[in-house]
Symmetry: C2
Subunit: 328 residues, 2 copies
């Protein structure tokens, strides 16, 4: 039987991904929404989060798609009310609040899931399996997209906690930390910050790897024309190219079969802001909701904060370069 779930924050990502994924799931029944403005046809809509909790004791799980800044207050309230919590990426505005949520969920005996949708892209598991048995020499991430195309009017992305180019960049880091068998850490970062905003529009990162492999990343939020979400790895036993945000895999120059290899053209893109044309994110959110169902069933949690720790490290360690103002 499907369990009742509430969705909080009915914006672009909710409409494009969460609502269809829940609708297609046999695990979940969308029983309420909470949003200042948005709603979903046929689903009881609330603007007051506490009221939704009070009036719906049978809704055992709450999924949050609100921007990171206001999320903690709601998520804490949900946990305090004994509800399971599912968090869109990034799981919070600060690492400390994520640690706090994790502890509170454990104390309350509810499940909490910090989701990283890009980890569920079609070929990520295959890439992980391939890299797991090979000796890495180098890996380079190129994550370049057009913020005006994928995040139109989303001003929060430039404000504190919005992460700027790390909003898509954290997707790359979530894949990286899943597919590499060894932990890495940042050794240098350069952040390009437009004069008129707080958050970076581009970044270059370099990591230390326990066996000396060269790991680097290049993020750009002003990429017009072709959009690129690619990781290229060179090992002693061959090369791997994971492209389109994890949807496509090429080993030693040969395309690997996979369930989205006949997806849309690569420039229809796996950005969070993807409009769903050709739906290259197909499968990511359904898999997240299936995982949430399994976590709840087993009374478990999954709160891996490694991608966010790398982002915080980049802000902590990075040198800043001032670049021209960002005007949308």
């Amino acid at each position: 039987m499907a369990n009742k779930i509430a969705l909080v924050g009915i914006g672009k990502i909710a409409r494009d991904q969460h609502v269809p994924a829940i609708a297609a799931s046999t695990d979940w029944d969308l029983a309420a929404t909470v949003s200042r403005e948005g709603s979903v046809d046929g689903v009881p809509a609330y603007t007051d989060f506490s009221r939704m909790l009070d009036e719906n004791p049978d809704i055992g799980t709450v999924s949050f798609c609100v921007p990171p800044a206001p999320r903690f207050t709601y998520a804490s309230a949900a946990i305090a009310a004994g509800r399971n919590v599912m968090l869109e990426k990034p799981p919070g505005a600060t690492l400390s609040e994520c640690f706090a949520l994790k502890d509170r969920a454990a104390e309350a005996g509810v499940s909490i899931f910090a989701t990283w949708h890009s980890r569920e892209a079609a070929q990520v598991d295959a890439a992980k399996a391939w890299l797991g048995t090979r000796k890495l020499r180098q890996l380079h991430i190129t994550w370049k997209e057009d913020v005006r195309r994928w995040h139109p009017g989303q001003e929060w992305i430039w404000q504190p906690a919005g992460l700027g180019v790390f909003d898509p960049g954290i997707n790359a880091l979530s894949i990286l930390t899943k597919i590499l068998p060894d932990p890495i850490h940042l050794t240098a970062a350069v952040l390009s910050v437009p004069e008129n905003v707080t958050m970076p529009v581009a970044a270059e990162l370099r990591f230390s790897h326990p066996h000396g492999a060269l790991i680097s990343a290049e993020f750009d939020f002003l990429q017009e024309g072709e959009q690129t979400w690619t990781m290229e790895a060179e090992t002693e036993e061959g090369t791997l190219v994971l492209s389109d945000g994890g949807a496509h895999l090429r080993i030693d120059g040969v395309d690997q079969p996979g369930d989205s290899s006949d997806g849309g053209p690569s420039d229809s893109g796996p950005s969070d802001g993807d409009p769903g044309d050709g739906n290259p994110l197909q499968g990511e959110y359904p898999r997240l909701y299936a995982q949430m169902a399994a976590l709840v069933r087993n009374g478990e949690s999954d709160m891996d904060l490694a991608p966010m720790a790398h982002v915080a490290d980049a802000f902590l360690l990075g040198t800043r370069v001032s670049v021209e103002p960002f005007i949308e």
Copy 2:
């Protein structure tokens, strides 16, 4: 019987604090130093860390006072060689590397201790006990010192991983996270960054507290004249002032007795760069080395990264204000 320990990085903090603390300890015997330039009279001095490890299999513990940036490589090598590791604050240049060290130490079965010397200041435990039974309304940290006085010529403090004013500020955060019974997280930060360096020279922080108390902090690295390292807390049951970096405690206006209440004048200061005149840090480092001995004896580790997570959060969330160049 005393256990052999090696000290890595013979600079100001090593001479002022670590060497005297080890010399006064019955737990430890300083058996080697590793440093590019420094040495300690009568102790075998190395410049090559690997050689020190190779030639001294009987040195079971290594204490690191090198700046955070180069520390990871040495600490990893020590762990890989089966040695216990003690880390001066901050425990690393990034959070991710600290998580990695923690995991490696656990795998290797050695003890690791991320020390926070300010937590051992004379009145910190008393402040913690007092706050533990009272309802907090607000707490304000004022941490203002003169970088030119306490960190003369220490250029690393302005470079990536140097933390700038958060080098002393993290001491305040280490005390705060020890004395508060509830976890907090940052909600806003303003960082003042001199035009010619990467790291902030001043910061204002605001935190969220689970019961709604107002928690704030003010750090300044250009404070001439009187130096201030104070926390003022107002509870429903009275007020607390913890001053001189934790050395002095005043409850409801009354000075509390304590083992350093007759220490030097407050402006001789508990900064990391304290020259030892009047030694207001007296007791902090001996207590850290006693704790390390206990951890090793019991096969335990203590790697609390909360203070560093708050600093990373401040860099992640903070808005930056450009201020006039810092010229030493």
